[in-house]
């Protein structure tokens, strides 16, 4: 029984959480990789040799509040 003339002040239909779950895992991985490279790589931890990544994103690391030197 749909009546398109009245729009009730109700919350919109939420997405079912099991529909969101695979995307949430994907999003979490993107977020963690971003956080790792901006906050940790060649600082407290290192996957790659040297300091070029650290030096390149150095100002962003400081200004975004991540610990550095």
């Amino acid at each position: 029984m749909s009546d398109n003339t009245t729009i009730p002040a109700l919350a919109p239909q939420p997405f079912p959480l099991r529909e969101v779950t695979p995307w949430a895992i994907f999003g979490l991985i993107i977020g963690l990789i971003a956080l790792y490279f901006i906050g940790l790589e060649q600082g407290a931890l290192a996957l790659f040799e040297g300091a070029t990544i650290h030096e390149f994103v150095h100002d962003a690391r400081h200004l975004l509040g991540f610990p550095c030197h």
Partner: protein
């Protein structure tokens, strides 16, 4: 639908990152440069090490302060934009009678407080030469610990609000959950150790300006994500959401 939201989140992160870069370049870089001047003065005052070799910097200062800064901010902002879109997909329709744009702004405000403001209040951003090099691992551990605790407490406050919602209504449930978050954060602040490594001779105005600029960058980032994502998502969802309500 959720894939479309994710694309819009990444795009919102890109736009917000460019805005935050402009803010950082204008308001943040002067204090980074001033801190590096202080660092060089300190190094010049030390007795010269005869074995030291004059090192060629890997990345020049102009590159660090422009492309490097832009890249670094974009890595974080696009990542946050993606996560934001997924959180939005979980929250949309569970926040009460909010439009997509309103829900997006509310979520951005929660993100700013729990991801940026609370960690910054306990362990504020430090300019170059204001901390000890050999405590980097310790300070990084503390920073990521407070970040994780703040996000967990934010989630806890959210769950508390949802629990109280049926009995107390949206306003009272939100106020109680918000107060609970503030009290829990205060207790954590008291328990966690302080970090005070700034040399006494470090210029106080530089430290202040750097920290305020850092908070400002995070604010621009979240405001940008909230506004841009809200308007992009509104175009897909409010149309669709309305029809879903009507069909229900």
């Amino acid at each position: 639908m959720i894939g479309q939201l994710l694309m819009r989140g990444l795009l919102a992160g890109l736009v917000a990152g460019i805005l935050a870069f402009c803010f950082a370049y204008v308001f943040g870089e002067p204090s980074v440069d001033a801190a590096i001047v202080f660092e060089e003065q300190m190094a010049a005052a030390e007795p010269a090490d005869p074995g030291a070799i004059e090192e060629e910097p890997l990345v020049s200062r102009p590159v660090q302060s422009s492309w490097g800064l832009l890249t670094g901010i974009l890595i974080l902002s696009v990542g946050l934009g993606g996560v934001f879109a997924i959180l939005f997909a979980c929250a949309y329709g569970r926040l009460g009678a909010l439009s997509a744009a309103q829900a997006s702004l509310l979520l951005a405000a929660i993100g700013f407080i729990s991801f940026s403001l609370v960690p910054w209040l306990k362990y504020p951003a430090n300019p170059p030469a204001s901390t000890f090099d050999d405590t980097i691992v310790y300070r990084t551990d503390l920073y990521f610990l407070i970040l994780a605790i703040s996000l967990a407490l934010g989630y806890g406050a959210w769950m508390l609000r949802q629990q109280l919602l049926p009995g107390l209504g949206a306003w009272n449930a939100s106020v109680i959950a918000g107060l609970g978050y503030v009290v829990a954060v205060a207790v954590v602040f008291l328990i966690m150790p302080a970090v005070n490594e700034t040399p006494e001779t470090f210029p106080a105005t530089v430290l202040w300006e750097f920290r305020i600029a850092s908070l400002g960058i995070q604010f621009v980032l979240w405001a940008g994500i909230g506004l841009v994502f809200g308007s992009l998502a509104g175009r897909v969802l409010d149309r669709d959401g309305t029809s879903r309500i009507a069909a229900a």
